[in-house]
């Protein structure tokens, strides 16, 4: 590659004929850079977290073999599920089937000084028990994957609402000049049906399009169209972009148009992404120790590789990072499937917590680990069906109190009964930690002021450090 910085300098400031534009161009760019801030200008209150990493365990992990141990369910294994629990409730694939109790398939142990009760399939996550706030009393509205994910991301089962990452970047702006503010990574597990994930999960809905999540692929071209067509050469691309910029700036002088100002900034950001994205996914500056910690050398499309990328994204100021691991839909063989899927995520999740912590970033990074719903205490053969009346998740980092558990399901793990938490409450708390009052981050669409939490949502003060 030739010296592209030299070309840049010449391109922007030196070339005869375009030199007169320098002042106008640079002031335009400056104005747009300021516009990268959020709608709110400044947060509603002092934020505890600057960014969020959502580890989405897609498919619906069983709470009964992750975070919510039920000895009574073990005792009743094989016996009919008491009708008092299930009568009149929604049910998915078990429609019309005989409902029998299906005991926990894996043992639990007490981890950390706080003695958090976690399934032994997750020793590395367990190693961070004192940092976790475990919630065992979640419930949600939709019992099928697609609308349930939409609920978890947008606060509504209907399509077309903005996802939480879009709300966050729209409200708060971005802290990176050469990467998108909201990035999504995906991986596929081997232990269950890999349920599809729709791009609507990271859609900006009715918010401006630049707040849409950008899907970063861990294999192949990392971001669509990010490579120059001439074998990725940057010198020619720089020259081309500079020429476009100068002519557009010239056009702006002739016939002023604020859209040109924005376009100038976006072409510059696009060009920067062509270098920053390859740099982001180039792991040659990582240590052997780091590779061992995560259990991957990257580039293999695994959840572990995505965890490593998540740390790199967080370091570069990306506001909202989502990892989808598609592997938790265990309708059959939950015992064996959980072994497989837990192994796929435990080490890397633990590694991410360790890595962020030792870099001092965990304190302002909110981590959320959980699925779109849980699974039935009733067996579906030797698996479990979808379940929305009670499930678990955990959080750590940015403003979260560690070593605590919150809420309970009933003795069979069917319904959340104590300190019940809805998805809206999770959203309200997440926004609160980011410094946002969820009731005051609204967008008017079709005559109505919409917000992430619809018409409800409570900030869960008990979870806060």
């Amino acid at each position: 590659m030739t010296d592209s910085t030299k070309i840049t300098r010449r391109g922007f400031f030196g070339q005869a004929g375009a030199g007169v534009l320098t002042g106008a161009l640079s002031s335009l760019m400056g104005r747009e850079a300021a516009a990268a801030g959020g709608t709110l200008g400044s947060p509603h209150h002092a934020p505890r977290a600057r960014r969020v990493i959502h580890l989405c365990m897609a498919g619906g992990p069983t709470h009964l073999e992750t975070l919510d141990y039920k000895p009574e369910l073990a005792r009743m294994h094989g016996e009919p599920m008491p009708e008092s629990f299930t009568k009149g409730q929604q049910i998915a694939q078990l429609q019309g089937a005989t409902l029998k109790c299906f005991g926990p398939q894996h043992p639990f142990a007490y981890y950390g000084d706080s003695g958090q009760h976690i399934c032994t399939l997750f020793p590395k996550i367990g190693g961070h028990a004192d940092k976790l706030c475990i919630v065992r009393s979640m419930h949600t509205d939709d019992i099928n994957h697609d609308p349930a994910h939409t609920m978890m991301n947008t606060g509504s089962g209907l399509s077309g609402r903005p996802s939480m990452g879009s709300w966050a970047t729209w409200g708060l702006g971005v802290e990176t000049e050469d990467l998108p503010g909201y990035v999504v990574l995906t991986s596929v597990g081997k232990g269950g049906q890999s349920q599809p994930i729709a791009a609507r999960q990271w859609s900006a809905g009715f918010l401006p399009g630049r707040h849409q999540g950008v899907h970063l692929k861990s294999q192949g071209e990392p971001v669509h169209y990010v490579s120059s067509p001439d074998a990725g050469a940057l010198d020619g691309q720089r020259r081309l972009v500079d020429a476009v910029q100068r002519l557009n700036a010239n056009e702006h002088q002739r016939d002023p148009d604020p859209e040109i100002e924005t376009r100038l900034a976006q072409y510059e950001l696009a060009y920067r992404m062509q270098t920053s994205v390859p740099e982001l996914v180039d792991l040659s500056d990582e240590t052997e120790e780091t590779f061992e910690l995560y259990g991957t050398r990257g580039g293999d499309g695994t959840y572990a590789a995505n965890c490593l990328l998540a740390r790199r994204l967080a370091e570069r100021g990306v506001r909202f990072i989502q990892l989808y691991h598609r592997g938790w839909d265990h309708h059959g063989g939950v015992k064996r499937s959980m072994e497989i899927t837990a192994k796929e995520v435990d080490q890397a999740t633990g590694a991410l917590l360790t890595d962020l912590d030792r870099r001092g970033m965990l304190e302002d990074t909110l981590i959320l680990w959980g699925g779109e719903f849980g699974r039935t205490p009733m067996g579906q053969g030797d698996g479990r069906d979808h379940h929305i009346k009670g499930f678990s998740c955990w959080m750590a980092g940015g403003g979260i109190q560690g070593g605590v558990s919150y809420g309970e399901t009933d003795e069979l793990g069917y319904a959340a009964v104590k300190d019940v938490v809805h998805v809206h409450d999770l959203h309200a708390t997440m926004l609160h930690l980011l410094g946002v009052d969820h009731e005051r981050l609204t967008f008017r669409f079709q005559g109505r002021d919409y917000r992430l939490t619809d018409v409800s949502g409570r900030v869960m003060r008990d979870w806060l450090a």
Binding site: A18, Q90, A198, A231, D257, Y267, Q446
Partner: protein
Amino acid sequence: MEASYALSLLLAMAPAGDPPLSFDRDVRPILSDNCFECHGPDTNKREARLRLDREEGLFRERGGVRVIAPGDPTESELFLRITEEDADFRMPPAEFRHRLEDREIETIRRWISEGAEYEAHWAWSQPTRPTPPAVRDEAWIKSPIDRFVLARLEAEGVTPSLPADARTLARRLSVDITGLPAHHEDVLRVERGQLDEAAYIDALLDSPHYGERMAQHWLDLVRYADTVGYHGDQEWRMWPYRDYVIRSFNENKPFDEFTLEQLGGDLFEEPTMSDKVAAGYNRLNMVTFEGGSQPKEYLLKYAADRVRNFSTVWLGSTVGCAECHDHKFDPYATKDFYRLSAFFADIEEVGVFTRFQDGVVPPQMRVMSPEQEAELAALAEEVERLQIELDRDDPALALEQSTWEEGARAEATDGLRAPVAWVDDAQSNGGKTEGAWTFVSASDGAPVRSGERSRKQTGAGIVQHFFHLSERRVSLTEGDRLYAWVHLDPENPPKQVMLQFHVDGTWEHRAVWGEDKISFGGVGTDRDAHRQMGALPVTGEWFRLEVDPLLVGLGPGRTVDGMAFTQFEGLAHWDEAGVETETPSLAFGSGAGSVREAVLAETGSRSEEQTTLLRAHFREISPSLGVTRSALALAESAKTTFVESLPEMLATVAVEPREVKVLPRGDWMDESGEVVLPGAPAFLPQGELDGEERADRLDLARWAVSEANPLVARAHANRIWRLLFGEGIARTPDDLGNQGARPTHPELLDWLSMEFIESGWDTKHLIRTIVSSNTYRQRSSARQDIIDRDPYNELLARQGRWRHDAEFLRDGALAASGLLVRDIGGRSVKPYQPAGHWRELNFPMRTWKHGSGGELYRRGLYTFWCRTFLHPAMDAFDAPTREESCAQRNRSNTPQQALVLLNDPAFVEAARTLAEEPARPLAHGSDEEGVHQLWQRVLARPASDVELQEAISLLSDERARFSADADAASALLSKGERPLPEDLPADELAAWTQVARLVLNLHETVTRS
């Protein structure tokens, strides 16, 4: 606070002589925003039994207290409460998220002082045709439209913009009307006055691309897509509906007819094919194939989806809010929502579709042109003629039949069994033949058991050949055995062989011999679907694989219509297969069980049915009718083949309407709501809908386009205006209700609506009327003189300016380069798409394979529309996913857009194609001329001096780079499938490609101005 209010009151005092305030324009929006949530249409949330969204409520008097006392704010409780000092009594309450601003309070005060004249909401009163106002500058008036606009401008003391130059205007007209850039030669003719502007407008409206442009807009509204939307987002076939929309706009079908056909075309007395295709509108909602979904829940999701769509498209209203509660701002009650939903309750569908196969979402229908309908009729006639031939009475045949009956009776009583071949030297049973049927004969050195030929089968893993859905079917009787002869190669024997039988549409009856390798039916299981028959037969000799049907779950009376011959690896020869039975004469034909009974019954004691049955059965097997039967089979197969070649799509089929209940809080599990019948929202005039009989979709459509409905013409005219100015006259085309933006020029919108209706709902007329106005012809440049006063161009003192829609960017680049294939309609196509974009899809897993040849260069309108993973270039430029209706696309400006225009192979290929001409030195002469040519092709003008300088400089830098770096040149030129011209040096073409990319990326190129 009080002091500051008083102060601002003084400041805000209107100067005498200001026109009086309008309730609809000035006051209602304040009340809607601040009061209606608790004092509005929602009966469940209404506080103090006070309703401010209705005239009665506003002027009510209760216990001597008047809500509004016209002329006297201090006697008006509403005014007193909004200015109340005591926070406990002040409205809106402190906890409400809005506070009234001082100027809003002043507006209310002034309106009351001025006499508090009430006005109905602009959109819900009948439009009348206003008289276009008088203006001072008559010379500017080209159309009545201009009067409405200029009158307001003159009142505000603003002059309109100058007209755009001829080039800009021609380009504007072309892209607005056809979505394609003006051809630079047309632009030249317009500029030179050789092509009259009005004639150019007519030519554009007559162009078949007009229908495409309008379809792009309409398809956003009705949420047309190529996939089902939920979960696995499987492909379906809907494109004939898209073509119907294009055709309808091109034919300038009156909008009222267009409405009737889409909502209820299937309910016409004698619907044409086109009407039935149009009614496909009713099936455009998302559906699911997700296992474990509750059908009832999803049926209700589909019902709600339809109400949302109908009300956005035709009413411009957000009725969707009323699914769970009465609308908070508009008078749509929950019951109205379910009454609208009941119109669609007759649509045949299931809640959860299963067994996804090949894009079928039943019910489906075949789509054909009138010529194809005639062809099908001819084919059907031939089938019918042969059936009559087969069915004719013939004494010779009767004799033949009685001989056959005797023989069959003898067979049935002699207790001997004999094999009957089903397959031997050919698969002549009809139906579907699949897998490799490799017939070989003894002359090939192959073992042959019977007849002249056997079938050789070899390969890795599971290999099979089979037939099913055959015309000749085996009807099992007691004691029958199914069999097939097989010869296993001694050197290379298969590890396992399997016979499999097709019954009732499934293949779930299998018998296996040998190692358990074939996974079908479950390795390691021993059941009907995978019956273990023991070891492999000996190799090197013929062996008859024989299956007692009972072992694979097939009892007497079952009909087998196909057989599969499967092996795992190795080499085998397969020969005669069939059934061994006591009554060979009765082996084939439908219902052989009852045939057997009929044969055995004495002639005298046979029932009439038995006689008919035997007669029909004999015609299926009689040797003397063989020729006729073959001809019939051929004719039937010709007909089937023809039908199967016809495109299929989802059909709208009316059945007995499902019961519709109001769902409390939208909860589908709550059965307690009242049952409702179809009906229009109660606050709107019902027109013909209050008849005795249950109304249907067609009645809904008639109501929509009747005089009873004030919304439809306004909604349509407002959206058409938006296509031509960038913003609607009402800026919220999807919400014409209380919370929507009031029209900037309400009289103009009403005038257009009436002009539209009175012209016979003529959309082309509406467009021609608008684009012929001087308002339309203005420049789009920002007006520095009024930028602070009118930042959103609400006065229409200039034209709008916006980035082209996703499709038109693609179309423009393809058109300029000459690559564009201008075919109209057809299946959706797949242009280039980055690898892996569909990786997160499943059930089934899919990869996008881009098309070939002309499919790569079709307009963006035809790009395969995957709802969950929209084509990334479309997505980047705000094309909607079409999960829900979209009346106005976002117009974002993002780095992803720059990446698409810079790097998407479709744009790079267009650039390198554009570059071919200037790169051919003899064609023009100088580099300067080459640059001008590129600018002409893309922007219909020569390059300016600055542009020329920039382009030449880029060209020379890039020439140097590419001549030193052949790999980079070759990589750039390899984008896209268009073959490289052999006569051009790669470095030269690559350098010009960079210049072409420059012009394709310019703001002017991507902007409609």
